[in-house]
Every structure is written in structure tokens, then in C-alpha cells.
């Protein structure tokens, strides 16, 4: 009995030593090639169309996603006394071909997302934004908007877009509820 215990214990120890000393394939000297393996939003694009069919666009692009690089922003210029129908595009331009996140929200995730628009500065009282689309629960989404600019003098301000998602909580009209996916601020100019 004792010999059996002794032999089996030594066998166990020997096999363990071999398994522990086996070289694994972790080699710090050969790092993996960088590249973002997952989806990110790199670009927010606003396309506003006036009744004549003229399209005004604004883009907010941060090529490195959550990285530290500064964004490249082109502002929005709207005409006073005009109204526009707008569409928001969220794109992942780090992938080829470009991935459309807004399409995904439109197709599958409307119930869990909502856009908010805030105008501030001198243009604050001059511009109103209404959300045109609804989800299955008849609650607003905001991928499609209607923008109204009151007549008057030239003005400047900012046009802020916030996308919230709701994970296990109810959609709310309060912008502070939910988790922020996008917070992009465009310079806004109103010209007569």
C-alpha cells in the first residue's frame, strides 16, 4: 500500500513539473498588430434639406474613437426663416467598407435609443428641433428631425446632439437619464 502511495505521488509530482515547465506561446516581443476589432462611432453626419431640395451638411469626426486625438468638426449654417427636414448618420469609418451604426439603430434598436438636440448661444431662441420618428412603443427616436429657423437677423451658437441608450431602464424625455453614446457639439451660424 505504502509503495503504491509513494509511487503514485512521485508520478503526480513528475507530471506536474513537466506540465508547469512547458513553454507557452506568450511572447511579449511580438505584439499583436493594432486595429480596432470592434464597432465604434467615428463620425456624426447631419444632412438637412430645405423645401427647395438644397442640402446642408455638418460633420463631427473623431477618427480614433475613444482615443485622445482631437475631432475634426465642420459647422452647420442655416438660413433664417427657413425650415429643414433632417437625417442623422452615425458611421464607423474605421472599417472598410464604412459601417453604418444609425442603420443598426433604425433597424433593430429604436426602442433603446433616443437623440436629444439642444441649441444654445445667440441662436438658442431662434431654432426649434422636433423629432419626427417614433419607436414601436410610440416614443420618440430622433434619427429624423424637422428644424425650424425663425426669421430675423444673423446669429451664432451651438447645435448639440446627444445620443442616449437605455439598458434595462425606461426611455425618458429627460436628457440626464440613460447612458451617453454620442455627445457632439456643432458650431451653428444663422444667415439671413
Amino acid at each position: 500500500m505504502n509503495t503504491i502511495i509513494r509511487n503514485s505521488l512521485f508520478l503526480l509530482a513528475a507530471s506536474a513539473i513537466f506540465s508547469a515547465c512547458k513553454d507557452d506561446d506568450t511572447k511579449p516581443e511580438t505584439p499583436a498588430k493594432p486595429g480596432n476589432p470592434v464597432e465604434v462611432i467615428t463620425t456624426v453626419k447631419l444632412e438637412l434639406e430645405d423645401p427647395s431640395g438644397k442640402v446642408t451638411t455638418a460633420t463631427w469626426k473623431d477618427a480614433d474613437g475613444d482615443g485622445p486625438g482631437a475631432p475634426v468638426i465642420s459647422g452647420l449654417t442655416l438660413s433664417t426663416g427657413q425650415h429643414y427636414d433632417g437625417v442623422v448618420y452615425l458611421l464607423d469609418e474605421s472599417k472598410t467598407p464604412t459601417d453604418s451604426i444609425s442603420n443598426q439603430i433604425e433597424e433593430k434598436e429604436k426602442e433603446a435609443h433616443q437623440f436629444f438636440y439642444t441649441i444654445s448661444g445667440g441662436a438658442a431662441s431662434r431654432v426649434t428641433v422636433e423629432k419626427e420618428d417614433k419607436d414601436a412603443n410610440n416614443l420618440p427616436v430622433g434619427l429624423k428631425i424637422h428644424v425650424d429657423v425663425s426669421p430675423g437677423m444673423a446669429a451664432t451658437g451651438t447645435f448639440k446632439l446627444v445620443l442616449k441608450h437605455y439598458d434595462g431602464i425606461n426611455k425618458s424625455a429627460d436628457v440626464t437619464v440613460g447612458e451617453t453614446d454620442v455627445e457632439a457639439e456643432f458650431p451653428l451660424t444663422l444667415t439671413p
Partner: protein, 775 residues
């Protein structure tokens, strides 16, 4: 601060009252000692028995018996020796008249070797540093909870937590990379730099837990600027046969169920083979605060280990492997979109998402495993010198998963960790302990470490790296009469190289550090009760990879972190003075320290935030300043009458950034703890009965730099714990059990060192039931 002073004052008054109440006519007891031959069982004549507490030596007569009369209650050490026999020492607690039998082993009959686990540890017996120890009895009473939670009862030790699942110890304000953890003689190497990276050790393994406070790195290697946490497992079984122990534990707050099974054996006489194996399972669901459930704070842990020990004549060989693995949820509400969301969460004062209690673990979460394999060889030379050679490999695997955005379909279908790190550490070390020569004993050693880290994931937080560290050290201790002195010197050399992809392919960037560590200390025994000790030491730490190169967004704190490749090594100069008083009634320890750390590395926000498409994030960068940590600790224990023990401990810390002359951020608040315990050997049908009540006061941290953190430190809080335990005997079977209630009054509080205080309260009351079945 006033409140803190008042509480300390109240405690002192309480103790003084207790001291007064305890002045009843002291009872005297009789101690009968019987010295026998352990093999023949016959009484031994002419054996000398020495009791140091009494400064008294007596020699046995024909009957082998000795009587010490009219002894006051207290702890006594009995040392007995006789030519031809091994020395024997036992410590007893005298609270009734007792007979103690001393079996002396004949040298001819036994091939006795000193217990392996204490082989090279004797040096610590007369340490001149602040050291606190949790023994097996105290550990059993707290078994199954995170190690840091067990350590926080010491003066000067606090807890840094990231929700109820992740915690790590803070010693005198320092933590993470500034503390070294020695697990079963092996320096534990994981991603310990992260404040939200807990200790990766099976909480049931320790038989002894020890914290050495202050720079203690001469024997333990670089980085131990703050101190050392030493974890010692059970000693190998000494008697022939197989035995074991089953431990069961349950807790109400988070539905924790834990079990640990220990089996151990010892075989053969000449070629002595001992073994020990342990398996542990722990599973918990969401924790609860007094007001709401902390959603997604469950965990699932599986640990296993085995060790073999072979002894033959002057040789000991030990082989061990241990595996730790855990999957733990991170408070769901702590994952915020951007700084605006974080400010909203702080303003709301409660988590944005609170679900029903569940055991399910969702993202964000961590998956961590740690494998240790080690081979140790001991040899006692004919001269009495001892040699130890140790080889070890550790593989630490850490995966952290963020909660993806809803539209990130591929991440929901196929989880890609935010980062995955695999750290492999190989260590070879050798020590030589010289035989005692003219009141001097000491040891010297060399060590070599090779570390490789491989990173992957969405946003690698630290780069791939390779680090080589070599060290050489010597420690000498001298003791004569009432004096003792200690000197230690160490030199370490470290080369670390990071590997990263650039447009020109793989780029390697190396840094080399080399420096000395030293310590000098002394102690003096004024009388048999009072010891005074002092120590001055200096240690250093090379900047860690995350401090040099981290680059990315932290979901939990909504901050962007940037490393600083220009950082230099930190150096500390720590001076400390302490007194220890010990008599039959009182045990008092007090110390004051002054730790100056030059080039202390910490994070500050840059004036310009980082703008991303998710919004603005404060940009934190690692900088260096000189800091000064000054503090004091005191522990007082007093026996009251026959069965009661009262205790108190106080921790005080004053931490200042002396470069900018502002308080240092995230330093633990001052704290006082008071305990009242009742213990007796037998009561009704129960044995070893104990009950205790513990009150802890944590002050408000009023010293912090303004305008750096999102929110000011939380207010002071009071906690009360209570426990009752005993031993039940069913025939020959012993069952040890206990019931503990933590946070008895279900107090709602936040702690300054909890990283989740922005989002949620700390857990509410918790009833813990433990059962230990030895067999």
C-alpha cells in the same frame, strides 16, 4: 476631526473604566508540570524547566513533577530541556489551576527536523519593525472573506475597494504596487498596479496572515515601499496518517455560499512524505445596501492547490501548485457614458440601474486566473547553516469586459475583452542562513526574475513588455542581553522593455534601473514588560508599466489616462519608533512613523479634457512630487476579570504633498476600533466559547486637495459587528461553528477609499454563518 478626537477620548474613557472595573482581587492559580519521555512515557528526572515570565528555572525530581504556586492569571511560556532530548517549548494560558505535561523526545529515537515552514523564518522573531499577525484562530473566525477584509482589523491597515467584490489592503496609506505580497514564500506577481485588481489568493489558504509595516524590502525585493503582506499556509502534517477539514460558510447579504475542503497526510518514517491539498468554491450574488441592490456585484470563484513535501535526513524538498480563478461582476451603474453621465450619477446619489437580486454575472465584469508552480529545496549543512533554493512560475491571466453599446452587435454576440493581459513570471532564488556566531545571525540571498506581459483587447491599457530583475541582499541580526540590532542591505537591477507596433513595425523601448535598499534598526528591553524599538529604512520602486505607458479610457471612473515615459524611480526614507508593553493584564503597542517619499508617482487631471465622440473626459496624467506620510498607531488590549478582554486600536495618518504643499489625495481617513470579547473553555455543553462586539469609527477625511476629485470625501461613519462561536462535540467528532453579524445596525455609509462611492452606498448588514468539521 473633532468627532474623531471625541470618539478616541470616549474610547480611552471606556478603557480606563474597564481597567478600573477590572481591579478585583486577583486570583492565584497553581501550575503543575509533568515532564515525561515521549516514547517510554516514563517521568524524567533532572529536566530543567524555565518560565521566562517568572525568570525562574526549576529542575524536576524523581517523579518528573514540578509545582509553581500562586501564579496570577496570564500567558506563560514553559521551556524544558534535558541532555539527550530535544528542547520543548509550549505557551499556555493560565486562568485556572492546571496540569501541563511536557513530553520530551529523545534525540536518538527521532530524526527531528525543524518544521519546514519555519525554516528560514526564525529571523523575524526579534524584528525591530512594526509587524502585526493574525493567527489561525483569528483567521478561522473570519475565514472565507476576502483577504484584505481580514487584514483591515489591524491598526494602520485599511481597505481599498471597487464594489463589494474587489478589495485590497492599504498599509499606512500605500497600496497596490507599493505593497509586496509574499504567498507561501513566493512573491505574488499579477497586475497588482490596478486599484480595481483584487488579491488573487484563495481566502481559505492562510493559516497565518502578517503585515510588516513600513519599507521592508531588504528580504522581499524591491517595491515594498509601503510594507509586506505575508501569507503562510498550514504547516505540513507531522503525524502519520491522513486527515482533513471541511469548511462551510454562508452569508445573507449577497447569498454567498462557500466551501473549502482540506486533505492532508504524512507517510513513512525515514523518507517522510507529507502532502496537503485544498479545493475551494465560492459563489455569491448581488450585494445589498440598506436601500437597494448593487446590481451585477456577484462572483464565482474556484480554487485548488496541492503541495508535496519530502524530508530525508538534512534534506527537504517541496513541490506545490495552486490555481485561483474568479469571474466577478462590476457594479452595472458604475459604467457610465461620459463625464456628464458621471456628474448626473453623483447628483442622483444612487445607482442609475437597480435590478432584482440575481446570481447572474453580466458585463462589465472581470475574469481572472492565477497559477503558481513552485519547487523549493532546503538543506541543512553540517555546520548548521541552511540553504534554500526556490524556483517558481506564475501565470496571471486577466480579462476585463466593458459593457458594449447596444448597437455593438458583434460585441454582444462575441465578447472581446476591453483588455486581456497575460503575465508570466519566472523566479529563481537562493538563500543562505548562516549558523549563529557570537550573538549574530543572518542570511544572504540572490534572486532573479523574468517577467513577460502579453496584451490584447479593444483598448490595451499597458503594452507588451519584458522585465528582468536581479537582486542580491544581506541581513544581519545581533542580540545580546537586552539589546538587539539589525542591518540589511540590498541591491537590485531592473531592465524593462516594452514592445509596440508603430508605422515602422515593432518598436522596442528599454529602461534600466538600479539602486540600493537598506535598513538599520535597534531594540532595547527596559524590563521584562517593556521593549523600545526604532528603525530607519530606505527603499525604492521603479515606475510601473501603467504609470509609464498607459493610454486609454477608464469606463468606471470616466477618465482618460495617459502614462508618462519620463518618470523616475520613487525612493522612500522611513523612520519609525515604537514601544511594546506586555504583562499579564495589558498588551500595548504604539508607534509613530515618518515616511518621506521622493518622486512619488500619482495622477493629476490636465486642464484640457480629452474630447471624444462620447463627450468630454478629464485627462489624467502621471506626475511625480515629493510627499511626506506621517502617522501613528496604537493598540491596547486588557484582560478584564476571568473571561473578558477589551481592546482598542487607533490609526492616524497625515499625508502631504510637500512639493505643492497640499494634502495628498485618496489617503485613508483616521480610524478607531474598539472590541469587547468574552471567552471561556467550557460553558454549558459548549467548548471554546467566544463572543465579541466590535465598534469601528471612521472619521471624515478632511485633508484632500480641493477641486481635483469629482466629489468631496464622504462623512464619518460608525459600524458595529458582533459574533458568537463555539465548539460542539458529537461523540468524538468536533464541530466548530460561529455566527457573525457585520454592520449590525444596517448603517448606510460611503467610504473614501471605495472607488464606487460616486455611485452607491456600501453593503448593509450581513449575517455570516461558519462551520468547520475537522476529520
Amino acid at each position: 476631526m473633532l468627532l474623531f478626537r471625541l470618539t478616541v477620548l470616549a474610547g480611552v474613557v471606556c478603557l480606563a473604566f474597564a481597567a478600573w472595573a477590572g481591579v478585583v482581587p486577583p486570583k492565584k492559580f497553581r501550575l503543575l508540570i509533568a515532564v515525561t519521555d515521549s516514547v517510554s512515557k516514563k517521568p524524567l528526572e533532572a529536566a530543567s524547566v524555565y518560565i521566562p515570565e517568572l525568570h525562574k528555572t526549576m529542575v524536576t525530581g524523581e517523579t518528573g513533577l514540578l509545582v509553581f504556586d500562586s501564579l496570577p492569571k496570564g500567558l506563560y511560556t514553559i521551556q524544558s530541556s534535558l541532555i539527550g532530548y530535544h528542547q520543548f517549548q509550549v505557551t499556555i494560558w493560565l486562568d485556572e489551576s492546571k496540569m501541563v505535561s511536557i513530553p520530551l523526545c529523545p534525540e536518538s529515537k527521532h530524526l527531528h527536523e525543524v518544521e519546514v515552514t519555519t525554516h528560514l523564518d526564525e529571523l523575524h522573531d526579534f524584528t525591530v519593525q512594526s509587524r502585526v499577525v493574525l493567527n489561525q484562530k483569528m483567521i478561522e473566525r473570519n475565514a472565507g472573506i476576502n483577504l484584505a477584509e481580514q487584514l483591515k482589523q489591524f491598526a494602520g491597515v485599511q481597505l481599498l475597494s471597487s464594489g463589494p467584490t474587489i478589495s485590497k489592503p492599504v498599509v499606512r496609506g500605500l497600496h497596490s504596487n507599493r505593497l509586496v505580497t509574499i504567498n507561501n514564500g513566493i512573491r505574488q506577481e499579477g497586475q497588482q498596479w490596478g486599484a480595481d485588481h483584487g488579491t488573487e489568493i484563495d481566502p481559505f489558504t492562510p493559516a497565518k496572515l502578517e503585515v510588516i509595516k513600513g519599507a521592508a524590502s531588504v528580504e522581499y525585493g524591491v517595491e515594498a515601499i509601503g510594507g509586506v503582506v505575508r501569507i503562510t499556509p498550514r504547516a505540513f502534517k507531522d503525524t502519520k496518517g491522513i486527515s482533513g477539514e471541511a469548511q462551510l460558510m454562508g452569508a445573507t447579504n449577497n447569498g454567498l455560499g462557500a466551501t473549502s475542503l482540506l486533505l492532508e497526510g504524512s507517510h513513512f518514517k525515514q523518507h517522510k512524505l507529507s502532502w496537503r491539498t485544498r479545493g475551494t468554491l465560492r459563489k455569491a450574488g448581488d450585494s445589498r445596501t440598506p436601500d437597494y441592490v448593487l446590481s451585477n456585484t456577484g462572483f464565482k470563484e474556484m480554487d485548488g492547490s496541492y503541495a508535496l513535501h519530502y524530508a530525508y535526513k538534512k534534506w527537504h524538498v517541496e513541490w506545490m501548485q495552486s490555481y485561483f480563478s474568479t469571474e466577478l461582476g462590476i457594479l452595472r451603474a458604475s459604467h457610465v457614458g461620459n463625464t456628464t453621465d458621471l456628474m448626473v450619477a453623483i447628483a442622483n446619489g444612487k445607482p442609475a440601474y437597480v435590478g432584482a437580486f440575481t446570481y447572474a454575472i453580466d458585463r462589465p465584469k472581470q475574469e481572472v486566473s492565477h497559477l503558481i508552480s513552485a519547487l523549493k529545496v532546503f538543506y541543512t549543512m553540517p555546520s548548521g547553516g541552511k540553504v534554500q533554493v526556490q524556483l517558481s512560475r506564475q501565470v496571471n491571466d486577466r480579462k476585463e469586459f466593458d459593457r458594449p453599446a447596444r448597437w455593438a452587435t458583434s460585441q454582444w454576440n462575441n465578447a472581446v475583452p476591453q483588455y486581456a493581459l497575460t503575465l508570466v513570471t519566472d523566479v529563481a532564488e537562493a538563500r543562505y542562513e548562516q549558523p549563529k556566531w557570537k550573538n549574530i545571525k543572518g542570511q544572504f540571498g540572490i534572486s532573479w526574475m523574468n517577467q513577460g506581459n502579453v496584451t490584447s483587447g479593444v483598448q490595451p491599457i499597458i503594452p507588451n513588455f519584458r522585465a528582468y530583475t536581479s537582486g542580491v541582499y544581506v541581513v544581519e541580526k545581533w542580540q545580546r542581553g537586552r539589546w538587539m540590532a539589525e542591518v540589511g542591505l540590498r541591491y537590485d537591477w531592473r531592465k524593462q522593455t516594452r514592445f509596440e507596433w508603430t508605422s515602422n513595425g515593432v518598436q522596442a523601448e528599454g529602461k534600466t534601473f538600479g539602486n540600493t535598499t537598506f535598513s538599520v534598526g535597534g531594540g532595547y528591553l527596559l524590563n521584562e514588560h517593556l521593549k523600545v524599538q526604532g528603525n530607519f529604512s530606505s527603499a525604492w520602486r521603479a515606475p510601473n508599466m501603467n504609470e509609464l505607458y498607459s493610454y486609454g479610457l477608464h469606463g468606471g471612473t470616466a477618465t482618460f489616462e495617459t502614462g508618462n515615459p519620463l518618470l523616475e524611480a520613487e525612493r522612500s526614507y522611513n523612520a519609525e519608533v515604537g514601544v511594546v508593553w506586555h504583562d499579564n493584564v495589558w498588551h500595548v503597542e504604539a508607534s509613530v512613523y515618518r515616511n518621506r517619499i521622493n518622486h512619488f508617482i500619482y495622477k493629476v487631471p490636465l486642464p484640457q479634457p480629452t474630447i471624444t465622440i462620447r463627450g468630454a473626459f478629464p485627462n489624467f496624467v502621471f506626475v511625480q512630487d515629493d510627499v511626506l506620510l506621517q502617522g501613528a498607531e496604537a493598540t491596547v488590549n486588557r484582560t478584564l476579570g476571568k473571561y473578558f478582554v477589551a481592546g482598542a486600536n487607533v490609526s492616524y495618518l497625515h499625508a502631504q504633498n510637500t512639493t505643492d504643499n497640499v494634502p495628498l489625495i485618496f489617503m485613508p481617513a483616521n480610524r478607531a476600533r474598539f472590541t469587547l470579547g468574552y471567552e471561556r473553555d467550557k460553558w454549558w455543553k459548549l467548548y471554546n466559547v467566544y463572543t465579541s462586539v466590535q465598534y469601528q469609527f471612521t472619521a471624515h477625511q478632511h485633508r484632500f486637495p480641493t477641486g481635483v476629485d469629482y466629489v468631496n470625501p464622504p462623512p464619518a461613519y460608525h459600524l458595529v459587528d458582533a459574533s458568537f462561536g463555539a465548539e460542539t462535540r458529537l461523540g468524538k467528532q468536533i464541530l466548530r461553528w460561529s455566527v457573525t453579524v457585520n454592520n449590525l445596525f444596517n448603517v448606510a455609509y460611503r467610504d473614501y477609499l471605495s472607488r464606487f462611492r460616486y455611485y452607491a452606498l456600501e453593503p448593509g448588514s450581513n449575517v455570516v454563518v461558519r462551520l468547520i468539521i475537522p476529520f
